[in-house]
Amino acid sequence: MACAASTDLLDRGWRVAPQVAVRPEPFGALIYHFGTRRLTFLKSRPLFDVVASLEQHDTAREACCAAGVPEQELPRYERALITLAGAGMIVTADEP
């Protein structure tokens, strides 16, 4: 799948943080951080697929491609991942 110009977050490896639970729902998913008690709704099923599969891919971009996220949606998904990273829900793959 052809990919757009490289952006920092999408080209890094990520994973769901250890204290986080992800629960799929018909509308997407619920993601809860046991440490911060923060609860977030993921409002699309593809976003759940991306988040749940982050660890299995070298980069977030690959996870998005594998989840079938269309090229033009990548910026939206990147922004979602930025929000999740800011909330501590996802961490870079090399983080302990």
Partner: protein, 380 residues
């Protein structure tokens, strides 16, 4: 919150997001407004093993968080073990307490625990206001618990207040009290549930106070929790933070001390009882297949409210508030911001209202039995 997501949540989820678990009806206090009519222990309480089995189920279902209350949950001997067990099984815990069992040692233990939240209940910023509702000495007990927790280095404490006519003027003081003990203030709605029905007429906020409360939340609500219990006030203007919808039977529910599952802790009545965790299939089956919850997850009839422009915001208010004041569930909330509930209440006058199905109060229940020998004596 988008309209479609609210709709999705109203049709229910495969598992609750969080739930209330009343662990015991036993309580050392006798608060006048107790929503669970607590006081005496029910001998049929779930055993320790049964509680752990429920926790195992919650873990499998990925219920993220439980709010443990009662009665006074800390009077159960296995309470601290159950809390440990839940946390070890990926179920976050908050427990609600009047503070009477929070010793200095226990406060230290709590400070060292992870994924555990504590909520101390108080209904007056001063003993004069508080103790009339919660009993003599209860203010001092709560403050002592908060002091001990602060001294022990506990973080994330919540101070939980039920808003009444008597304490609306104290909102700022409550905030100051919470700040003093490094706690987060939580204010919630008084419902005419349990013993709350006996005091609701004189204790529920006036319309004017409701407005005041709403404005105060808009101004101060950034770090004040509400349990989304004031969504009926959203008709005043901008919606308050939270889902702004009734979660009962859809995203939350109650498990009571004997394992009965109700739509929420404010409707302990057969009409809203979905089943029991001891039945085959346990809690999961009740949540997913009970007739009550299936019904609640259908689109609700809006009846008299259908033509009101504010319905989208208030969503008809609280079914517990309507049920226990004898109002129809498809009509206005008794505290409808437009006063429609008040008018409707006036038309029904003194007609009888539903009574809770469980009353473990330690006082003789004033409503249960009419055959007092004194009545017979006076009738002669």
């Amino acid at each position: 919150m988008s309209a479609s997501l609210v709709d999705q949540l109203e049709t229910g989820l495969d598992a609750p997001i969080c739930l209330t678990w009343e662990l015991t009806y036993a309580c050392n206090l006798a608060c006048v407004h107790c929503l669970s009519s607590s006081g005496r222990r029910d001998p049929r309480e779930l055993t320790t093993a049964e509680c752990m089995a429920v926790i195992d189920e919650l873990e499998r279902m990925q219920v993220f968080y439980i709010n443990i209350g009662g009665g006074e949950p800390t009077v159960r001997r296995d309470f601290w073990d159950l809390v440990d067990y839940a946390v070890a099984h990926r179920v976050g815990v908050k427990f609600s307490t009047n503070g009477s069992r929070i010793t200095a040692e226990r406060a230290l233990w709590l400070a060292q625990s992870d994924y555990l939240d504590v909520q101390v209940s108080l209904d007056g910023a001063t003993p004069e206001v508080n103790d009339v509702i919660r009993g003599p000495g209860s203010y001092a007990t709560a403050i002592l618990a908060m002091e001990r927790l602060a001294d022990a280095g506990f973080t994330g404490l919540k101070l939980s207040v039920v808003v009444t006519r008597e304490n609306v003027p104290q909102l700022d003081e409550f905030k100051a009290l919470a700040d003093l003990y490094d706690a987060q203030l939580r204010i919630t709605r008084l419902r005419p549930s349990g013993r709350g029905a006996d005091v609701w007429d004189r204790l529920h906020p006036t319309q004017e106070q409701q407005r005041e409360l709403y404005e105060w939340l808009l101004a101060n609500g950034d770090d004040v929790l509400t349990g989304d219990s004031f969504f009926h006030l959203s008709g005043y203007g901008a919606p308050l933070p939270g889902l702004n919808l009734c979660g009962a039977g859809r995203v939350v529910c109650l498990i009571d001390p004997v394992g009965d599952v109700y739509a929420c802790p404010f409707v302990i009545h057969d009409e809203f009882r979905a089943g029991n965790v001891r039945a085959p299939g346990g809690f999961a089956r009740v949540w997913r297949e009970s007739e009550l919850f299936t019904d609640l997850r259908q689109p609700q009839s809006t009846g008299a409210c259908v033509s009101c422009g504010l319905f989208d915001k208030c969503r008809g208010g609280c079914m517990a508030a309507k049920f226990f004041t004898g109002l129809p569930l498809d009509g206005p909330d008794p505290e409808c911001v437009l006063g429609h509930g008040e008018s409707l209440l006036a038309t029904r006058g003194d007609a009888p209202v539903p009574k809770p199905s469980v009353d473990m109060s330690r006082r003789p229940p004033s409503r249960a039995c009419d055959e007092s020998p004194l009545t017979i004596l006076h009738a002669r």
